[in-house]
């Protein structure tokens, strides 16, 4: 029980026959998830992330590839053993998937019905789980009377009933408002700490990844296009799609759109440029602006700035109009790059006009 990776997917491909043309929902993906991690998979809808996580508990059998969970190759297990293995992988869903014919307590008791324990023990365990998610007093109500956030709490309690080692969250916060999302994520983080859970979380919101994940994989068109520690992927995205996610979650994207719509780029003077700066780590604390002004004689007029903390690292974003010696600015930027500052022109470089 000491394997480092609790989940190990190797060369997973899932092909759906959609009429005459087969569609590769997941395309040769390998993914290892360390025990005790909170691993995020982000991608737009249709990227294949839901299909990929369903491969983990074999709800979706892959067309090819191998699945090892907790040292067991799931594909080699007979049906009964597979069902036992599934009990160790809890799952929560975007639409909660509670049974409306059962009370809140009944829903949490459901996974325990197939265990050989007395009705009293079952009820006691379910009540303990409801208390853990903060819904002890709702035991006798029916799911239809609960809010979205409360339903998801019930679903979490139900997913924990079999004492799983892994919890898969399939867009679990996507149907919830931001405040409820935050509360659910806090609950997941608490459970991760107190129950030694490994959490695999898929989402299309970078905010969710930023809030609780340690590692992240970015999926697009069935492939993982980028992966790593959340802090490094966030601060130094390599792929355009990742950059897109990062900029959306930090409001930079909206700011760029707003600014480029209001600042007429061609109305800028010959010695002016619109620049997007990106600071990482300690550079966020350095006095870049005054350096530019003093050493390079460049004025910086800030239009937008934001500093965020991701996994303990400072990440800063700034959009500014610079005025002055543009040739000197290029020099300055090459130098600043070593200190973790990146700059990108939003205005077209002035050509031969």
């Amino acid at each position: 029980m000491t394997e480092q990776n609790i989940i190990d997917l190797k060369n997973i491909t899932v092909t759906f026959k959609n009429g005459a043309t087969p569609v590769k929902a997941v395309d040769n993906v390998s993914l290892a998830i360390p025990r005790g991690d909170i691993y995020g998979i982000i991608g737009y809808s249709g990227a294949g992330k839901s299909t990929l996580v369903r491969v983990i508990n074999l709800l979706q059998p892959p067309t090819s590839g191998t699945i090892t969970v907790n040292g067991q190759n799931l594909q080699q297990l007979p049906p009964k053993a597979l069902r036992q293995a599934r009990k160790k992988v809890g799952m929560i869903f975007q639409h909660f998937n509670l049974m409306k014919s059962r009370t809140v307590l009944g829903n949490v008791e459901y996974p325990l019905l197939s265990q050989k324990i007395t009705a009293a023990e079952r009820k006691q365990k379910a009540q303990k789980l409801l208390a853990l998610v903060g819904l002890a007093e709702y035991a006798a109500t029916y799911p239809s009377q609960l809010s979205g956030g409360q339903k998801q709490r019930v679903a979490i309690a139900r997913a924990l009933a079999n004492d799983p080692e892994v919890l898969i969250s399939d867009e679990a916060t996507s149907a919830l408002d931001p405040k409820t999302t935050k509360a659910i994520l806090e609950l997941l983080e608490k459970l991760h700490e107190t129950l030694d859970l490994t959490i695999v979380l898929i989402t299309h919101e970078m905010q969710v990844i930023k809030t609780i994940c340690h590692n992240v994989a970015v999926m697009d068109a069935g492939k993982i296009i980028e992966r790593g520690r959340v802090a490094s992927v966030f601060t130094d995205p390599q792929q355009p799609l990742t950059t897109d996610f990062v900029e959306t979650s930090t409001n930079v994207k909206a700011a760029i759109e707003r600014i480029t719509a209001t600042v007429k780029v061609d109305e800028l003077a010959a010695d002016q440029e619109l620049i997007y700066f990106n600071f990482i780590g300690n550079s966020a604390k350095q006095s870049i602006i005054s350096d530019l002004a003093q050493q390079y004689k460049i004025d910086v007029n800030i239009l937008f700035a934001n500093i965020d903390q991701i996994d303990g690292e400072n990440v800063g974003y700034m959009i500014a109009i610079i005025t002055g010696d543009l040739a000197g600015f290029d020099q300055a930027i090459t130098k600043l790059k070593d200190n973790g500052v990146k700059a990108r022109r939003l205005s077209q470089p002035k050509g031969a006009d």
């Binding site: 049906p79 809890g90 799952m91 869903f93 509670l98 049974m99 459901y110 079999n162």
Partner: protein, 223 residues
Amino acid sequence: MAALIPNVISMQSEFIQATLETLYMTFFSAIISAILGLLFGILLVVTQPKGILEDALTYSVLDKVVNLLRSIPFIILLAVISPLTQFLIGTTVGTTASLVPLVFGIFPFYARQVQNALLDVDHGVVEAAQSMGSSPSEIIFRVYLREGLPDIIRVSIVTVISLIGLTTMAGAIGSGGLGDIAISIGYARFENDVTFVAMIIILILVFAVQLIGDWIVKKVEHY
């Protein structure tokens, strides 16, 4: 009263007898059809493409059997099925003999209704149960039948009401019952009051079924 329904007054015992025959036919064919219909309906849902026990051959055979049986007009089914009735009951006429065509006339209809009721059970809930390691039989009994119960009761009401309608036609093979009285006495002898009263009793039965059914649905539904 005697002026309004003169012939009915003199036929009281026949009416009681006919009502009991209708109840007898309805009750027993309903019980047998419920078992067959639930079995077929459940099998259709679990063996369908992407079902929890996907099996293309079983699904296709059941689907065709249900379609075929549903296509035969009941009045013809009454006659066509008589060799099977002879084999099962030992006679082709009478109240008990009518149970065979009644069951074959109604259970495919019920199977289809049960299938639709179960298809309305949220697939996400079924998937959640699978993710919790539930076996196919656990999913059938603890998820499909339980979550689909209000709809199953609703379609059962519709089915029993249809079945009461079919029992009136079974008079054609000498089954007795209220339909038989209405046609072979009321209609044939121009005793319109007999036909009318037979209809009223049938309507009372139908309303009673509807009321009891609605009351049960209210008890089991939680949304």
